[in-house]
Amino acid sequence: MSDAIIDKLRDILRDSSAEDRDWDSVDGSTTIESLGIDSLSILDLLYDIDQDFGITLEAAEVIDIGTVGEIAALLRKRGA
């Protein structure tokens, strides 16, 4: 079943990452690290989330983010 938040995140992550991979297989369990989002590009990712979802995530919320699903859960909690 398609998840609109995950779908949107997938697009953002594709833009933030330099990885050449099968992006359709990215789901909630995919780790951010495995997508080539290194420590520097985590800030780019947060900027894009802010712009595309209109939600500014708090520093505390994102420090321990591990998977795409965890970001989606945070966004849902914040009203996405």
Partner: protein
Amino acid sequence: MARENILRGGIETDPGRASALSRRSAEHFGMLVIESLKSAEMLEDDRWREHVKLEIAPDVMAVLEDPEQALIMASGHFGNWEIAAQLLSRYKPVAGITRTMNNPRVEELIQRRKPRYRFHPIPKYAADPRRFLAVLQDREILALLTDQHAHTGGVPIEFFGHPAATYTTAAMLHLVTRAPLCFAACRRLGPMRFELTSSPLIEHRPSGDKKADVRAILIALNGHLEDAIRQAPDQYIWGHRRWRD
């Protein structure tokens, strides 16, 4: 290298004067190390007031005095950034990236000195945006020296008229966390006497054009650094290979 940088930056146009300035810059670095070793005593209790004149912008001071707010404080290798960090840690803890000194004897002296009040060093190898986010989450001051050549992920920003690869971290942290951001510099006025100044807060909200946002912030920061250097060019570490084109 220092002399070439001074000439290239247009600080001096005469090679002889540029050489003299590069020597004074080297002497300044020696002074900086000695001052830093003495800093714990100098800044103890209220004695710091005899040594440091504070010229902090009111909006920055309001952030420093508010325990609920973090602050991103950008600076460069100008004046005595160690004194600045230690003094500011009287307001709230300061975290800053540190690296091992090239000279092992100097490094040994640095390591042997007294602990630096509420300054928390982040070793260069462990400098990571997630660590910086944690500092901001703890409502501390994140001190970043933004004038090193950016090996990866940097953007070219004019520095004394020439593009220099510049780290984007300070700008991106401000954009994504909205944490207040300012530039600060600690200029030596005389033996063991300094003036710690800050810019007003640099406020920039994300516009959707990430590159333009980052660029605008970094141009502002470089502008403040250039202004500080022009006031006392001999207090800048000119030996770093800032321009690599």
